[in-house]
């Protein structure tokens, strides 16, 4: 038993955090989000230079063969900073290719992905394909085969998600099925849990700070027990969510049987969805009117947590899956 990140994981987490603090603060992010593209090529190539994009890919394609736990701290940092670059979509599509693609697909795509020269999106249905507008290629499974199409050959209807990510509806003639993708989607769900944990940490930290600095009735509002207890409950929700993210990512890496993995991921998604809702709503409430303001990062974290609670299946879907396993 050991809940530490190992030295490499810690170093990676530190360097990602340093970069995000320096080049991806709230102002920088705001500029990226309001740009027409909605993401930053410069940030993307830095991610590639840091080895983040190749991290879970095999060394055969320029990757590092990392697992979900290796990516946890990266995702937590992304969640704290509310990163909008299409990291998870690219990773999941690449993993789908690595797992189920043919040799030609692997060789022609994965090295470019690891180098940061190609972005991907994974379509599990025609609507709301995450990362599609900025992807070079769209990956989907049809029957027992994995198909890869150029984005520019497809008709896309792009939009931004609630939390500022690029997504698109795609007109596809072939039917999309997803039997090949269960494992990859569980991987994505587990990583989204880690991302949510990072966003929750920010929401808790910034709310606690606000309780200590905002004064009313001559005292910091954190002196009031009604607010103290709510803050404590947020803190407990966060710790419980973090525990479940650890469980989900560890189970992904342990490669036990598929039902065990799915059960752990669904359990984590249920807890994370509930905690995301609880923490996001309370963080806004305890900020009072300021929590509603576009100017405060906490309102954007609210959006991210709300979206993450439903991404890769909402609590109800995972309650049903958990019970079926």
């Amino acid at each position: 038993m050991n809940f530490d990140y190992n030295e490499e994981q810690q170093l990676l987490a530190d360097s990602v955090r340093r970069f995000l603090q320096k080049d991806y603060d709230f102002e920088a992010r705001r500029k990226i989000v309001s740009s027409p593209e909605g993401w930053s090529e410069r940030v993307w190539s830095t991610f590639a230079d840091m080895g983040l994009i190749g991290l879970p890919l095999s060394p055969d394609y320029g990757g590092f063969g990392g697992g979900a736990v290796d990516l946890m701290s990266v995702m937590e940092a992304f969640g704290e900073a509310l990163v909008v670059e299409p990291y998870l979509p690219t990773l999941l599509a690449a993993l789908a290719i690595a797992k189920s693609g043919d040799a030609k697909q692997k060789q022609s795509i994965l090295p470019l992905v690891a180098q940061g020269k190609m972005r991907l999106a994974l379509a599990t249905g025609p609507r709301g394909v995450m990362g599609a507008p900025m992807a070079d290629k769209i990956v989907f499974s049809s029957g027992r085969k994995l198909r890869v199409l150029d984005r520019k050959d497809l008709q896309l209807k792009p939009h931004r998600t609630l939390d500022g990510l690029g997504a698109a509806d795609i007109a596809l003639e072939t039917e999309i099925t997803s039997p090949l993708l269960d494992e990859v989607l569980d991987f994505g769900a587990a990583l989204s849990c880690a991302e949510a944990v990072g966003a929750m940490k920010f929401a808790c930290d910034t709310t606690l700070e606000y309780l200590k600095t905002r004064r009313q009735f001559g005292v910091p509002i954190g002196a009031f027990q009604a607010l103290q207890h709510r803050m404590v409950d947020m803190f407990i929700s966060y710790e419980q969510a973090k525990s479940m993210a650890c469980l989900a990512c560890s189970k992904i890496d342990s490669h036990e049987n598929a039902a065990d993995r799915a059960r752990a991921v669904s359990a984590a998604k249920i807890k994370i969805a509930d905690a995301a809702r609880h923490i996001s709503q309370e963080s806004v409430q305890l900020h009072g009117g300021m929590g509603m303001s576009e100017e405060l990062k906490v309102s954007h974290t609210f959006r991210r947590l709300t979206a993450l609670g439903r991404r890769f299946g909402d609590a109800d879907q995972h309650l049903a899956r958990f019970a079926s396993l």
Binding site: M1, D4, H229, M231, I236, S243, M244, C246, C249, I270
Partner: protein, 370 residues
């Protein structure tokens, strides 16, 4: 990151589990209210095995187990449905004596606690001093080599079984800081002037009492630590060992029993989803508990104030499980009565040992700095 126990820890768990399968008497399993004889019977079985006081130093009968092993042991006891090991002697009075007692006090009391010869109870709460414990008024006036104790304690668990009571008493009513006028006294329950009156609770059970002290003469040698230093002793005990307040093993057992007893009810989606949410919370709490253990192991420090979250969530889960059992059971059936009694009984868990509101105060102040 590795969430699993080591092979040695797993082997230890198996050893405990199979020992329990062979040695825990069937008739003591899952028993709500236990007689003194039943509690002592279990105590002596564990003492004979050498497992009744794992956390004590080896010279006094401790096992020398690691914190993780002690946690595994406690969880296995809970998971097996074993009776509780009464904490008042083994894990409250004894650690205090080990930390603050004189050699004479240790030699006199510890072996008898270990063997179950003395049954202890705890005299903390008073009618006017619950959460605000430091306001306690039971007074002890020094008279030569004795204290004369007068006052009242309440909610005293198992006082009606007890041979001894350890008490917080007021030895100096004049100090400005009231915590500094409290002492820690050990009293023989047979001393003239001590009266125990039962307090019946809403589940119909008798486990708590009022204890009255009327000019009770206590030898001064029964004071632990300095006069007026009792609060230090009490605080030490609070931070002592709180790794099993989440009751993970016990709740896992209750969850399993619930699923077995009401398997048909699991097809009711509304019920199923409520149950799953509690199950997930319990899974999370088990890992949170392990994270605390891991932190303790890594830093060598006792757990911080945030360990209170184990008590908060653990007791909420215990209560939620009794509520689900009530919901699943046929309200008209006679066998439902046991579940109803347990539902009533378990309401105490969020109140005792520092109410959950007090636990939240502790985290707010100590961990969050509010």
């Amino acid at each position: 990151m590795d969430l699993n126990y080591s092979p040695e820890e797993l082997a230890f768990r198996d050893e405990v589990r199979s020992w329990l399968a062979a040695n825990l008497p069937q008739e003591l399993k899952d028993k709500g209210h236990l007689s003194k004889e039943e509690l002592l019977r279990w105590h002596r079985i564990l003492a004979k095995q050498g497992w009744v006081a794992p956390a004590w130093p080896k010279e006094w009968g401790g096992t020398g187990w690691t914190a993780v092993q002690r946690y595994i042991f406690e969880e296995e006891l809970g998971y097996a449905g074993s009776p509780p090991v009464m904490p008042f002697g083994i894990s409250m009075c004894a650690p205090v004596l080990l930390a603050f007692g004189t050699e004479a006090q240790k030699k006199r009391f510890l072996p008898r606690i270990y063997d179950g010869e003395d049954f202890w109870c705890q005299g903390y709460s008073e009618p006017g001093s619950g959460s605000d414990l430091a306001s306690l008024k039971t007074k002890a006036i020094r008279n030569g080599d004795q204290y004369v104790v007068t006052g009242q304690k309440i909610w005293t668990s198992y006082a009606h079984y007890a041979d001894w009571i350890f008490c917080l008493v007021r030895t100096d009513p004049t100090v400005e800081k009231r915590q500094e006028g409290i002492s820690f006294l050990l009293m023989d329950m047979k001393t003239p002037g001590i009266t125990v009156r039962p307090l019946m609770l809403m589940d119909g059970g008798h486990s708590v009492n009022e204890v009255f002290f009327d000019d009770v003469k206590v030898p001064a040698e029964n004071r632990v630590h300095h006069e007026n230093a009792g609060w230090t002793v009490a605080k030490y005990l609070l931070g002592y060992e709180r790794m099993n307040t989440g009751r993970i093993g016990e709740s896992k057992r209750e969850l399993r029993k619930l699923k077995e007893a009401f398997s048909a009810k699991l097809h009711d989606v509304r019920f199923r989803d409520r149950l799953t949410r509690v199950e997930v919370e319990l899974m999370a709490l088990e890992i949170t508990n392990l994270r605390f253990l891991d932190r303790m192991r890594r830093t060598g420090q006792p757990p911080g104030a945030d360990v209170s979250m184990l008590k908060i969530r653990g007791t909420e889960i215990q209560q939620a499980l009794t509520e689900l059992a009530m919901q699943a059971a046929d309200p008209a059936a006679q066998e439902t009565q046991a579940l109803e009694r347990r539902y009533l009984d378990m309401r105490k868990t969020t109140i005792y040992a520092g109410s959950n509101e007090i636990q939240r105060n502790i985290i707010a102040k100590m961990t969050l700095g509010l």
